[in-house]
């Protein structure tokens, strides 16, 4: 097998590993990629990333807390590189209400350093939804991994939020969204 053939084969292996869920959670650890692709696995990942970008996807690397340089322990995911539109969201089966609740919850948590009492989050959610609905949406967000519920009813940012959401961008968008509304009303 020529060098080029071997590299394209490794590209295929990397794509399969990253796109197919093989654990309970999606994503692959660096050491798993190293095991299958060899010690230069980052070269393969970079090449795959540039190809995925042409399709509107990209590879995201999420480091373990406190191990910001340890690629072997980091998790690699394929995420959508461009933002979804409202119609994409509905077509994907999401409810506007549910995403709005998620947006509120994650904005509160991000603005408070990643942690907030459940009561405080519910207080804001209940300005938009009935209590039972707010609780259902929170439960679903916990199940999906967007938030975690700690003891003493404290909510914290979950693993999926760390991968999928740019928290700074979310807060900025929340602030700007209001400004846009003000400009429109003017």
């Amino acid at each position: 097998m020529s060098g080029e053939e071997s590299f394209s084969r490794r590209l295929m292996i990397a794509a399969t590993m990253l796109l197919f869920k093989s654990h309970r959670r999606p994503g692959v650890r660096g050491w798993e990629l190293k095991h299958r692709l060899g010690k230069n696995y980052m070269r393969v990942i970079d090449a795959l990333n540039s190809r995925l970008k042409q399709l509107g996807l990209e590879i995201k690397t999420v480091f373990e807390e406190g191990e910001e340089n340890n690629l072997d322990r980091a998790r690699f995911y394929v995420v959508l590189s461009h933002p979804l539109t409202m119609s994409d969201l509905v077509a994907a089966g999401w409810r506007i209400d549910e995403v709005a609740a998620l947006s509120i919850t994650l904005s509160i948590l991000s603005s408070r350093g990643g942690k907030a009492p459940l009561r405080d989050v519910l207080e804001v959610l209940e300005t938009k939804f009935p209590k039972w609905k707010a609780e259902t949406y929170l439960e679903r967000a916990i199940r999906r991994g967007y938030i975690e519920r700690l003891e003493d009813d404290v909510l914290t940012i979950g693993w999926r939020t760390k991968v999928e959401i740019e928290q700074k961008a979310l807060l900025k968008a929340v602030l700007e969204a209001r400004e846009e509304k003000e400009i429109r009303s003017d």
Partner: protein, 252 residues
């Protein structure tokens, strides 16, 4: 004595306060660290005894955790562009659902991943399916198995069980005869050996029941790599039974 109790209570209050802030993710800057440390110094100076030192150390540890939390809080705030949490809450309350969703979509990059079926998953699914309780009273024995079919299966199982018991009894008799003939413990491998691998496997399988039930004792000598069998006419109760794994390979 009363004074000691009061200072101890005060220290415990400080510990609780620090714990609360840490656990509930509250703003760590709401506490005046300097004041807490001054109070702690005063308490240490007033109560120089070992009992107090333990609580003092715990309090100092909690206060230092709070300082670490302040550091983390500042870092997070800087990351979040020092946006005030209260301001965000107010804005969120004022925004309508669609605007909230639009803001969320700007920051959201969902994971792309596909579920796939693996042999393990299929097996898990089958096991789960078989363990499901019956749907209703009319189908007593599970999905799509009628009562008559179940009776038939039960009768067949009974027959098979009877045949197996006969085989086990025959093997027990054979074992006892060979033991009396030889007058010493029998070699396991020699005994289970049949015409072919299937028969050897069957004999080993049946023998395992006799061993488990206490009709046969097994003596293992790891130095000589020997496994010996000592049969009993009657069932023997064991005080501390242990498990022994013997693997069979096709080359026997």
């Amino acid at each position: 004595m009363r004074k000691i109790e009061v200072t101890r209570e005060e220290l415990e209050r400080i510990i609780k306060l620090c714990e609360n802030i840490e656990k509930r993710g509250l703003d760590p800057f709401t506490v005046n660290i300097r004041e807490l440390l001054e109070r702690l110094r005063r308490i240490i100076e007033e109560n120089p005894n070992l009992d107090h030192y333990v609580v003092d150390a715990e309090t100092l540890y909690r206060i230092s955790t709070l300082i670490a939390l302040q550091h983390k809080w500042l870092r997070e705030k800087a990351r979040a562009l020092f946006i005030d949490a209260q301001m965000i809450s107010t804005r969120l309350t004022a925004m309508d659902k669609k605007t909230l969703v639009k803001a969320f979509l700007k920051a959201w990059h969902p994971i792309i991943s596909l579920e796939q079926m693996t042999p393990q998953r299929l097996r898990q699914g089958l096991e789960h399916f078989l363990s499901l309780p019956p749907r209703s009273g009319s189908r007593e024995f599970g999905w799509k198995i009628a009562d008559r079919e179940m009776e038939f299966v039960k009768a067949r199982l009974k027959l098979e069980e009877k045949a197996m018991m006969e085989k086990i009894k025959a093997l027990h008799r054979e074992l006892l005869e060979k033991f009396e003939e030889k007058g010493e413990a029998l070699d396991y491998w020699e005994f289970i050996k049949g015409k072919d691998f299937d028969e050897t496997f069957e004999r080993a399988y049946l023998l395992s029941f006799l061993i488990t039930e206490g009709y046969v004792d097994v003596k293992r000598n790891p130095l000589k790599n020997e496994v010996k069998l000592i049969p009993h006419k009657e069932q023997v109760e064991r005080k501390s039974p242990t498990s022994l794994v013997i693997s069979l390979r096709g080359e026997i």
